[in-house]
């Protein structure tokens, strides 16, 4: 099978997967116990007023009618209006998603840069004190709850030494004319540092451990001996030959991690009062705000599905031995 037919086949699978995810989400939220109007409606409202609200959200219609409308809306990328804010779901997503992406991508880049580098080195220096300490660090990073690390960072560097801001993306009262203007300001970077580093610390363990074990596998292969026999320097062998060949598993891991990054980190967003999409997703689910919950989960699912697809394609580019059969 050629690359073109692979892309077509996978694209069709993407559509089917996306439909399945949307359908599951639609019914899952409606099968959840709890009535969305309980959260929208003031206890003081008269029964007639309650009924009008239920009708205005289309919640009085049969399930299959709601489902067909939902599919129609998804096809036009219209996820409806939030039950709570009355704002279009796209507006809700576009308000919170960029904040999350800045935080998560910053953490992701830091984590994968240091994780991969330390993974290469620990694989290369197997059995050394350095390897043991990096492995322990990686395991700690994955084991210690990130919210606890976040709270400790706030307590030590925020409350005690007062060197980091304790909450939010910007200082109180600071307004920016544009999103780009905000994220390039010193004030924003100061607020970004602590949550991004805490998240990076948590993320870092995964690429580090994968890279290390992948390196160990590659280092046992014959071509490494050939490289040495050719008289190449250790650094060249380590980074140019061994590390490049060990990168393949990282691509899959990174694609999935990037996908999940779109969902944000509820705990970190909560601890650092970061206005991200993760908190908004949880809030929407807890309040049965179906349109926002569906919209945000659909975006998350779409990102993961697409990035997996991209990872599949990248395999062939990174390793010509991979075929599309």
């Amino acid at each position: 099978m050629g690359k073109a037919s692979f892309v077509i086949r996978r694209s069709l699978q993407l559509v089917a997967t996306f439909w399945a995810v949307g359908t599951v989400l639609f019914f899952l939220f409606r099968l959840m116990p709890g009535n969305p109007t309980s959260f929208v409606i003031s206890p003081q409202m008269t029964p007639e007023a309650r009924q009008r609200i239920i009708e205005s959200y289309g919640l009085d219609e049969p399930m299959h009618v709601q489902y067909v409308k939902f599919l129609e809306n998804v096809l036009t990328l219209d996820f409806g209006q939030s039950f709570h804010s009355n704002a279009p779901v796209q507006e809700v997503i576009m308000t919170y998603l960029p904040n999350t992406l800045v935080l998560m991508l910053t953490a992701f880049v830091i984590a994968y840069f240091f994780g991969i580098t330390l993974g290469v080195l620990s694989g290369w220096y197997r059995g050394s004190r350095f390897e043991r300490s990096t492995v322990i660090t990686a395991l700690l990073a994955r084991s210690v709850p990130s919210f606890w690390v976040g709270l400790m960072v706030l307590w030590v560097f925020g409350a005690t030494f007062n060197v980091i801001p304790m909450a939010g993306m910007t200082s109180p009262g600071v307004e920016h004319t544009s999103f780009i203007g905000m994220i390039t300001s010193i004030d924003f970077v100061t607020h970004l540092a602590a949550p991004a580093l805490v998240l990076a610390y948590y993320f870092m363990g995964y690429p580090l451990l994968i890279m290390r074990s992948s390196m160990l596998e590659v280092l046992s292969e014959d071509f490494i001996d050939v490289c040495r026999a050719k008289g190449l320097s250790e650094r060249t062998i380590m980074f140019k030959h061994a590390a490049r060949n060990a990168l393949l598993p990282i691509v899959t891991a990174a694609a999935i991690a990037l996908g999940y990054a779109v969902g944000g980190s509820v705990l970190i967003e909560t601890v650092f009062a970061w206005p991200g999409i993760g908190r908004e997703m949880v809030r929407a689910v807890l309040r049965r705000d179906f349109p926002v919950a569906q919209g945000t989960f659909m975006v998350l699912a779409a990102t993961i599905i697409l990035l997996n697809f991209v990872a599949d394609l990248a395999y062939g580019y990174l390793d010509p031995r991979v075929t599309y059969d």
């Binding site: 003031s42 609200i53 009355n86 049965r288």
Partner: protein
Amino acid sequence: MAEESNRVRRRSFLKATTAGGLAGMTALAGCSGGDQSGDGTEGDSAGGDSTETSGGDTTESEGSSSGSSLPTYTYVNNSQSYNPPRHDAINLIARQFNDIGMDVEVDTLEWGTLFNRVSVEYDYSFSTWHTFFTIDPVLELSSTMHSSNTGQGDGNFSGYENPDVDELLDGYMSEPDEQARVDMVHETQKILMEDVPQMPITHMPAAAIYNKNQTGNWQGELSLGFNSYWTMVNLEMKNGEDTLKGYWPETLSTMNVLGHNDENKHTYQFTVMYDTLLRLDNEGQLNPDVSLATDWNRVDETTMEYTIRTDHSWHDGEDLTAEDVAFTYNYIAENEVPLFSVQANYIEGAEVVDDSTVRINMSQALGPFNTMVATQVPIIPQHKWESRSNPSQANIQEPVGSGPLMFDYWNKGSEFGLKKFEDHFAPVSFEQRFWRIIPEASTVWELLKNGELNYEPFGRIDRSLNENQDHEAIGTVFQPATSFWHFTPNQRQDGLDDPVLRKAAVNSIPRTPIVEQILFGFPQKGFNIVSPAFGPLHTEDVTRYEESKEKARSRLEEAGYSWNDNDVLQAPSGN
């Protein structure tokens, strides 16, 4: 002395509130009338056991176990993470119920599920949450206690029906004479506290928690406590501070004053962004000095006239006129705005009499029109709203009101800012007010102490408050509030339609340990569905229920209940 003996040592108490704490629970002197010999120490469980056992033995020997079994009851509980103190309190109460022979299981549910189970499906036996009463207790009681509201989701989730109460509630609403209304609401309380369809476990306080180096003169008001309009216009700033800096744990949802869902976070903003015809002061009196209307008059049973200020304007500079006021009332009635559906039910229409006078015609007589309607309906600008056909679903980004604070900015999810409206007739003393969205409580306390925040509008009553209230930078003011933790039995379930069983349950509620230990002594023990905060509307002359499991047992025994060999409560024969 009784109070002292009711106290439970903390360790044994905590043990009791966990699943494995059965032994510790029997040491809860607070639920056995305070007359047990044990002193409630941790090692005293044997003493507690023996007290309970002997009581049970006595009852068993005297009671006939020929009655029918009562069903297993379900006490729905919120999760520990949602509200830790209430979760512990419900577990504690359920265990006390088991101690008097009721078969009670606790079902812990996610909040949305719980609320729906109770308020819509009526699928529960006992429920508890924090009830917020509004400006007039009868408004709430008409929803929760009137027999016309027992349909699904209509408000009367206890299933209580009493024609006498219906008549009193209806009479109160239409009675124009204030003293007659007071008498009616007193009578209503007496009946309700005798029938116990609902019982307050604790009367929660309104709390002003603030940085005392930056703010002062916190005066609360009846319905919105220390987040009220009255509080804001009387607040004093200190040491050159000109910004009131607050927080809220979750983001605001909307800037639509007619389209929010009555959550406090929105009400606290809109109450200072929009004027209402009348305002209450901290004595609960209508105060023309801080109101849009400087005078008012009941023309007849169904007609009110208000004299409004003619020198006031909207935040965008347009004049606020009598036409705006009449438009507001007509608009809410014509559009059947759900948020104000109760008020809209009483509004026939409004008309402008002259430049300073507005007449409001009621569709049916409403005695407390001023408190239930004139203090509640926000006056909105005609030039902004007349083109909006679906007001409750309008997506508004920059609201225009006429209150003492005007919209400044809204960084969604992060921060919401208001600034002083210089031309207001009751100006605030600060230049701006912002709320940051900070979900983490420990962060809030650090910011309060270091002055980055200077007030705590959420009013958390919890361990953190207990630990931080004595800090040199923290000031607190407490006053009775209208809200309470309610205990509500579902009368649709077998046995719970019997007032005797409900009263016995109330006798068993361990209010002392809940107040003293779970809530660190901040609230008062609950005793009346109409809180003392309501002033003249409240009466002390209601049936009081002793906090005693022995009293509960003797009450049941006198009514013909019995216990089987396993000490399980049996309904009276013939029931």
